[in-house]
Symmetry: D4
Subunit: 232 residues, 8 copies
């Protein structure tokens, strides 16, 4: 809303925006990502422009996470050679992922409703330079489905498991493999799932060792962690 | 949102959808249900088409739960001989329930606002092959109402009780009958009901033994459990 | 503490104790149980004496739940022909269970630490007149253990599953059988199990239908519910 | 612990104790009470001595709440003509209650385990000058018990109901009478009662209007409120 | 949504609606109220019609609580001589309150944002037959405001206090008067008010005795309770 | 909604609005602020008019907090010489801040998404008469960013730190400076941030002493507190 | 427990203890404190010895917080010229506080049960070099008590308020003064105080601006913050 | 307690104990561990004996976690060549760890009070065959301490960080390194740490990607996960 203000305007020290962590790729080996939630499309566009000016030939992919269609539109205007995945709400620039190195990452989604989070994890790992694969709809209510994918799961260097509701899948998979499992709870489920709290607690309490947990619906964090584990 | 992507597209292993548990009816005696929440109407339509192709003459009913009108429209296009109940947000295919076997299931709703959940429970049990009956508006604030239905309640093999607010009805009914009571808390009530948490806790703490609880607003789960109990 | 009070003593209407629900066996078909927690051994002893005087030849078993050794001593003095199980903290009077009727109840304990609760469930069902069996240490971290008991589990009319930590076992079992599963969360586990809250939520959110839940550590309630389900 | 400090001692402004609200009886019509929890027996004794010196012939009763036996011993030394009830953990000075005025207060305890709280409420109301009566073990699992006391309950000007576990009793009683019901949740129950949280929520969500709630296990507050309501 | 169903329709026992507690005025002395939240306008309209047919000349007011404008429209069509207050979201039928009896009820609102709840309480008490008064914007941040109304507050037989945020006002008022205080927390406030949880807890923990609490935003319950207290 | 009521209208004592704390500037040295959330634009407009009439030449700024664009429009109509900041949702009247006195306040925002809260804090302090500065995007994931502002931070008399997600920034800054840090958690973050609960708890548990916390997203409170600290 | 191990002992990198922040006084102007909870008396003794060796003539006081009597004994053996306050569970070395500088700090305790926390705050501020005063038993249930101390409160540069139960005192005091108020919730109170959660929330939601909050029972943190505020 | 039972004894199917997962080393590559909490020393001793009989020359270490001194005594009797660490409450059999393979694991403890959990993690990783190192007392309140260990931290293949209170250390470390960080919250801290809930939430919300979390105080789980990550 533009208000017809009677004169006084805030001085510059009231109007600062962002300070990019340009040092991060050098320091950590992984580039910075831009978290779009809570930012206006205009703010995101200005950050995208700054990134575009900084690097004519970017070496590493920059990700824009939690990007709704309005954010996506703003970024694609500034960086037309970006890729937007509307299931994962993820933008990647440039669109082409790097050639994969390191070990295989398998992402498992307990149900179809967990796909947005699982896809965000898989795309993140892909853009950080890993080869990835996906198994879907392998919840513990029908064990034969997950048991049917054991060979693929046992070939992974790291596994990401996205599950809502009871969140039991990561513990069951961890009990069957030697690779570490990154569990990501989703906000899928009936009332007492409490927007992901129930699967979060389940995963933290997994009987099988070899499970560690990231934030609810945080597919980006899960994919990033898996990429670090599978780096070599 | 269709984005004008500059070339790169995710490879097939990034795009899988669902793996139906076709084995479930054989393994458990009850067919699979499709949970629609968190799925797009398009995803649900593709699942409905796959089901339609799998079984020309389906023996058992398939249920689509938590189906909003858009989901319903998508399923009815693929499976025109399905039935949609917009109170229960439930689709059943085929529309005609099987002939009832086993014992009677009585569903009790504490108030009119609990009807969506109670109806989902009753329809689920009906479609899983049980005879059912319904009593409404029998909350504990006027005990004579529930006492007036004692004969019906005592004739049941299993009872489902849906209640929000104080959630006291299941315990009161359990104290009056010999049949097991499946309690389903609803998200009906003032602020300190915390979207169903209050009646959930009440039901878990019922003084009368013979009460077991399912998830908040989970009429499907309550009806399924009751159908199993009343199977013989 | 006996205090040297200077004269005034509370009149009788300040000193009442208990009102037994002698009608319950007739009304519900199952006798009353005495919850000992929060009662002094002396109060429990007085209730036991009243029960002993009421029935020279009791037809049905009376249970004393949550009885610590001091409660047990007090009851056994009043009712010497009672049986006390110190794992389950359960007293039964008379000691001999009735001859079993109805279907088989199988109790599954995820781990050895869940045995107190599982035993309380099994003894309760046994004393309410059911035949029972027990499988122990079949947590989901090693699926082959639960799969090795499938025949026994599939022969049950009702199954009780006690589990702490991630509480995933009831959902996994429910996905494999047609019998209803009564899930009882236990307070076993690390910090974020929050004294049983985590497995409670897991069980309420079980992906597989056919699971209903009782209170944390409430083996008595689970066994009672199962006995009602398996009554015929 | 007396430590051999090397000299320095805190100055007086670091060592103050209490400031009695001597104005309260005049301002509100009800005298102050001393909450003993968190105070040392020595601190309570000093407060009792100050009270004893202030009033040679006290007009109104002073209550010491949450007094464990050590507190009681300390007070009885300073005020030998006090009365200590070890069930309610309440001390009253002087021991003799005033002659009753106003309407009748009926206190109902759902179970024997709720007696400490119910007794605290009843004694408080008695010492604030009301006539009181008590019904025990009238939980909703056996409705005939509470229905058997309807005449007494309907003769009350105010009713206090103490209940743990499901906390359903206050709402059921409120639906049967015209008097206001003060509900006091107790910390009695299994794990998911969460030390009184479950009955607290139940009572706040009572379907029947005419229920208001005080703190968990706060029999003093319930009795005080009832005494104010029944003042005329 | 009307679906083109292929034939099968649910039988009557799947379609029941409500069972009015016509006995309540006789049993309790206060008439039933209709809770509109969670009911469709059509359901409310059918209940209003049934009420209109039952009583040509109603003796007592019927209230419709939590009525949004669509509910109001539906009721006013069926009962044109009803009164709708859109601040309190309350409908009363007939519109004219009964002549007041009993003692005065004073309603205090901590801030202007608490007015919807305070008004619901005041109108409820008015329609149940009490004389009422209102003080607004007397939060504890400026004590002189509440102290300026002491004479009015001290003339009340019962006081209702609605407050959000810190919820401190009921305890402060209770410490100044002899009348009982019904505290009603509101969902007004910043994030850590957690939709009314913070003032709810504050009120349950009020240092001053003489405070009892009803559900968050439940002005109806507060006004009803106050009307019972001030009945004589 | 204007309803065609059949005659009866509520009497004046049912319709009061607000009681301004005109004494506050004298009593505390800081003027009152108007909290707009939960008030209708019309109510806010009437308060603004009253303020405008009370003071022809206001000495101190009045703030309207949590003002959405509709509130802003209403106030600007009544007080055209006010300033509205749509990021902070804050209105100030008159628009020009007073000349600064006291020490410098530095506001730090962990990320761009925390800017609305940080700006509210900074503007509040500015309008209460302090000089302020702002640093943005200095989260702990890239420590060099905050370390690069150490000179500015160490020149402050008080520091406000706004952060969501892990909320770690206030503790890190407090460990580096001698000035007191006011921490304000924001509702920015993934699911397990629970709308600001996670950073709130982090800040309360800061290892470094010298951190005190205000409500979630309460930039106004943080700025006010900082202005008091930096008053001299 | 000394176990008769068969040979293998953990190598040195498995046995490290502590790394003192010797730089803190220089960096922040306030010395480090040793948090004793969770440390064995032996560990604390070794830290005390290291401190004693580091500084023959210490310039600033070192505090040992949360020191139970066993910790105190261990420290006093190593540093005999320390002072131990068993109410505050605080050790100070050396025993004599520095000469006060800066403004006055007033500590207010709502009740006698809050004295341990209030004393910890007051001693901390005293040892960090401020002059301090204490008012006790000034809870909001009797407003005249806090109003009787207004002159002292208004002379403070910073105020610490310790309160349990409803935690309303900080907001009431903040509304009466211009100094900033540091609120410290205590774990004093009935069940629904939830070990300090209730007063914590109350304080975070204080209606009056000028209140910031530290951790439950954290008198040390409150005193430290106040000392920083009152430094000049 | 041995009770003088009058004859009846539970049949064998009421008395089962444990079912070892002997398949686990083959299936997962890591041996089973015995969780001692909730088991009696006698039960643990019988499990230890069974293990001792199973393997004359064990290839891999068996761990007994959460072993209090009584558990330790019982195991050491059965397996005298075991090692017990009373800080970590961990027993290992046989005592000598395997020769290390894979990458280095660095364990960081924020404070001395976190050492029990950190030691459990370090010993677990050591016994699963990794080389490990430990840094202690590197909390974020004094950043120079953690910055002083950057070379060691950057040489790790996986890092475990144990922290209580604000739990900020894992996120700060993750922002400085490329290795994945396993964060383990501890139950160390003041009241609002809520027994580890606060650091748990902080870690789940870490701004820096590359952090995954295990259960509160679960050093075993953290060390196991790290050993899997650093396996090659």
């Amino acid at each position: 809303m533009s208000t017809p203000d009677p004169g006084w305007q805030p001085p510059p020290q009231l109007r600062r925006l962002a300070e990019l962590d340009t040092d991060r790729a050098a320091r950590r080996g992984y580039p910075e990502a831009v978290y779009c939630a809570g930012k206006t499309p205009d703010q995101v566009a200005r950050i995208a422009q700054a990134l575009g000016q900084r690097a004519e030939n970017p070496q590493a992919t920059t990700l824009f996470t939690r990007a709704d269609p309005d954010h996506a539109k703003a970024v694609l205007t500034a960086l037309p050679d970006a890729h937007y995945d509307d299931t994962a709400r993820l933008l990647a620039w440039p669109a082409e992922p790097p050639a994969p190195t390191g070990g295989l990452i398998v992402v498992a989604a307990a149900g179809t409703s967990d796909l947005p989070v699982a896809t965000e994890a898989q795309l993140t790992a892909t853009y950080l330079g890993r080869s990835t694969d996906l198994v879907v709809d392998v919840g513990v209510a029908g064990l034969h489905r997950v048991l049917g994918h054991l060979d693929l799961l046992r070939s992974a260097r790291a596994i990401v498991v996205a599950a809502g509701m009871d969140g039991a899948l990561p513990g069951v998979i961890a009990g069957l493999v030697s690779a570490p499992v990154i569990a990501v709870p989703t906000s899928v489920g009936y009332g007492a799932a409490f927007e992901g709290l129930a699967p979060l607690l389940t995963m933290l309490n997994a009987c099988a060792p070899g499970v560690a947990v990231v934030n609810i619906d945080n597919g980006y964090g899960a994919g990033h962690m898996a990429a670090q584990i599978a780096a070599n």
